[in-house]
Symmetry: C2
Subunit: 230 residues, 2 copies
């Protein structure tokens, strides 16, 4: 028997917008701006790598990455350099926080027949800022964040919560995301139909549980895929 | 004997750019966005007044004004509403963070013959972010912030520090600012020639010490004024 799909749930980063490119451009531009403001301890490439390492170590929600960068090089705390990095980062972010070309048309199409949701690991306000900044927050009937739930993907509880909120069963739901270890693994375990957005390179499924049911390269492929399922 | 003016020092907010307008527009737009995101406990005007009261109470560098606004109305913490306020605020700020029309031409003119400085109350990185965001940080030979110095305007120490950094004596220096109680009072006490930027309404000097030597309505008036002094 063919099961009608009634709900579609999305990851945010690298699924609804190009988060990887945003981060790369924002970090590159922050480095350029700090050099312009007087940071002269290393070249752009080395500073970029060091900054990435610091963000990896302290997490992306830490507020003092640039302070740590100066410390790493034994440079005295310098508000001019830090402010230059912050402003360049924020302005680049504002410029690159745009939905993928396929995102909005797809949400509009799906909205006619489906409940739509977001299932996201991260701080609630930060993740909502992305949806609001992307201009797509009005599309979603539920937004489940790990901060609010106390469970992160791939834990099934966050997927179950999102489905319960819109009154749907797993067999009626699709999970779309770019990561095997969170979106696909968790979606499969929760009993949803999983769709991998192939925006990341170098991911190999480790076993049956993190193997996506379908793969797409753009959200534009999603409506015809769902039509086929229905 | 006529004393040559060699240094010109500026306050930032409402002296180099329209800080009052930026704050008003950013707060208004954050309220509109929060209403759009589902905040329906009061009208725009009332919410705006309440937000202003909260910012007055907690200070402008506090990070959770919108959380407090929801609390004030007994609304459950809502990351969607808070994020909508934050994004609207940041975007409006980015749009309005522009120098006054007279600022850049004046800095270019003065830079030929004068040392230029900033003397500012506030957090160092925040104040530098304004200078960087305004695109004018390269003009200044010294930027003195109260956070770094441990003294705020009108304390003479912050003015003296700025002058010492560029090797000038008070009689060689001009202080330009919009506030009688900080810029003008402190500049006068430090022995500088004081110039009031008349961007604020309703300020009455309380006595001789906070009476500006000169008054201007635009920074464009400053170069000819200094020519006259020289």
């Amino acid at each position: 028997m063919v099961q009608l799909i009634r709900g579609v749930f999305f990851d945010i980063d690298d699924t609804l917008y190009d988060s990887t490119k945003l981060a790369r451009m924002a970090r590159e531009n922050s480095i350029k701006a700090m050099i312009d403001a007087g940071l002269n301890v290393a070249g752009e490439k080395e500073l970029y790598s060091r900054l990435n390492a610091i963000i990896g170590k302290y997490g992306s929600n830490y507020q003092r990455h640039y302070d740590e960068l100066l410390k790493d090089y034994g440079v005295k705390w310098n508000p001019r350099i830090i402010a230059s990095g912050v402003v360049a980062y924020e302005r680049t972010k504002a410029g690159y926080l745009r939905p993928y070309p396929g995102t909005v048309p797809t949400l509009i199409k799906l909205k006619k027949k489906h409940m739509l949701g977001v299932i996201s690991n991260g701080l609630a306000v930060k993740q909502w800022e992305k949806l609001v900044g992307l201009g797509i927050h009005h599309f979603f009937d539920v937004v489940a964040t790990s901060e609010e739930l106390g469970y992160s993907k791939p834990h099934t509880r966050i997927f179950e919560y999102a489905m319960e909120e819109v009154g749907l069963k797993p067999e009626e739901c699709v999970m779309v995301g770019d990561r095997l270890d969170t979106d696909i693994l968790g979606g499969n375990r929760a009993g949803m139909t999983t769709v991998l957005m192939k925006t990341r390179r170098e991911q190999e499924p480790t076993g049956r549980e993190d193997t996506p049911k379908y793969e797409i390269c753009s959200l534009c492929e999603l409506p015809p895929l769902l039509e086929g399922l229905g």
